[in-house]
Amino acid sequence: MIVADHKLAPLVAAALVPLTLIGGAMAFLLLASSNADATCNPQGGSSVIVDPATVPTGTVAGYSGDQLVNAAHILGAGADLGLGVRDQAIGVMTAMGESSLTVLDHGDDAGPDSRGLFQQRDNGAWGTYADRMDPYTSATNFFTALAAIPDRDSQEPTSLAHQVQRNADPYYYARYWDAAVAVVDALAGSPTGLAAGNGSASCTGLPGVPGEVNPNGWAQPAAGPVRSGYGMRFHPIYHEWRMHTGVDLAGGGCDGPIWAANDGTVTFAGPKAGYGNLIEIDHGGGLRTRYAHMYTNGILVHVGQEVAGGDNIARVGSAGVSTACHLHFEVMVDGNNIDPEPFMIAAGITLGQ
């Protein structure tokens, strides 16, 4: 029996002793944590330390000159508070979204009293006018509020920035994450372990891995091999037939990439009994595909999002009733499960290969 999270071993052992008797036709059942360890963020947590006098002379992701100097002041404020590079990048991302890394001496329609890199308001929470206009001091006040948020390494960068800023759109800052990573890496002079594409993902250290798409738009949902096929099995303990409604793929193990099987709209992305977490994509015409057992931090899409075949929509996990890390993949036609293997073969994809 493989225990996905060693910290849960005692709990698992206590809760599932009877289930360890199950073998053969039914996989071992295992309760897994709703979140993987926080190893998906840059390791070590050390700060990036940059001298504002020696920032790059060129343009980085569209930012240059004083903008990069201001980014260096933000990094310095984070470092002086002992924060790691993930938090530092969130500071840079936030200031990009608020002021384009420029010390603004004006606000906007929603907040005419907002000032500085972080557009902090004159409500007493952010110090004096001079404090709000000073790059280092305003960043220090931003980071102090950020550091007070519990469990922040398991939350998305845009959500953390939003919780400090209390702006009107929780997803607003995600679009600045990639540029923030580029600026932090450029100022640090070497890669910091942060990966682009993760402004809305709590795992900021894992890069996206696009899948291969065949000429008809179909992709493998995950790497093989097939661990378990579709169909009825006789349960050795409960002595009744039970339905395996999908195909289990090894998927490259924990954190392996899960890819959208084809273009579609995400109709579900979140917890579901048994599945741990489930993503469902509606491809139109009565066809839906489903992807299960990801940890919460392995869900990379949201309801309503349009995805393309081969998009890295999730990372393999072991949430719910699961045999360690794998992908459970389902195909539904007109609301009924069908066997995914022959369906995908007809689309030019042999699952597991």
Partner: protein
């Protein structure tokens, strides 16, 4: 659409009446899936035979089936109204947070409730809905994008429904570009 061929095969087996059901099953895989799929005809033709009632899945839950929702007049009217109600509740920067959240929160999906609980309404730039909502994304009948005009430009409200009988809930309230 690229997956259409495969669906047609399934539709034939299930006895559905698609517009191309005259195509013989044996000929359809290569012909309808595309030029590169010649030689990859299915080894076994999948079926949509429903699982008998009462059968449990591997997790001990009844095997799930559902009625695929469609866009009909009632669905469209309901989603437009839900988007309108949500935008009217959201675009009130003059309402205190407690009252604002008590009225906005119940309109949101569980995930959106987690994400939107930190919004300070004083920072919402819109003050009023200024026109009729329009359905702008109907690619899935489970999810809708509804454009709602406001005094600062058109918002897009994204909504979802769990099944054909469920109410629409708000997933996202996306401001106009630049706000």
């Amino acid at each position: 659409m690229r997956w259409f061929g495969a669906v047609i095969i399934l539709g034939l087996v299930a006895g559905c009446s698609g517009e191309q059901t005259a195509t013989p099953v044996a000929d359809s895989p290569a012909a309808s899936i595309g030029p590169t799929s010649a030689g990859t005809a299915p080894a076994a033709v999948p079926t949509t035979t429903p699982v008998p009632p009462g059968v449990l899945d591997e997790y001990g839950q009844p095997v799930e089936t559902f009625t695929e929702p469609v866009w009909d007049q009632a669905s469209t009217a309901a989603v437009l109204n839900a988007a309108m109600v949500a935008m009217q509740a959201f675009a009130r920067p003059d309402v205190p947070y407690e009252q604002w959240w008590a009225e906005v929160g119940p309109l949101l999906s569980p995930q959106a409730q987690i994400d939107y609980q930190y919004v300070d309404p004083v920072n919402v730039p819109a003050h009023a809905v200024t026109g009729d909502p329009v359905l702008v994304d109907d690619a899935s009948a489970s999810v809708a994008g509804v454009q709602v005009p406001t005094d600062v430009g058109p918002y897009v409200v994204t909504l979802s429904r769990a099944d054909v009988d469920a109410s629409w809930v708000v997933e996202r309230i996306t401001p106009p570009a630049g706000l």
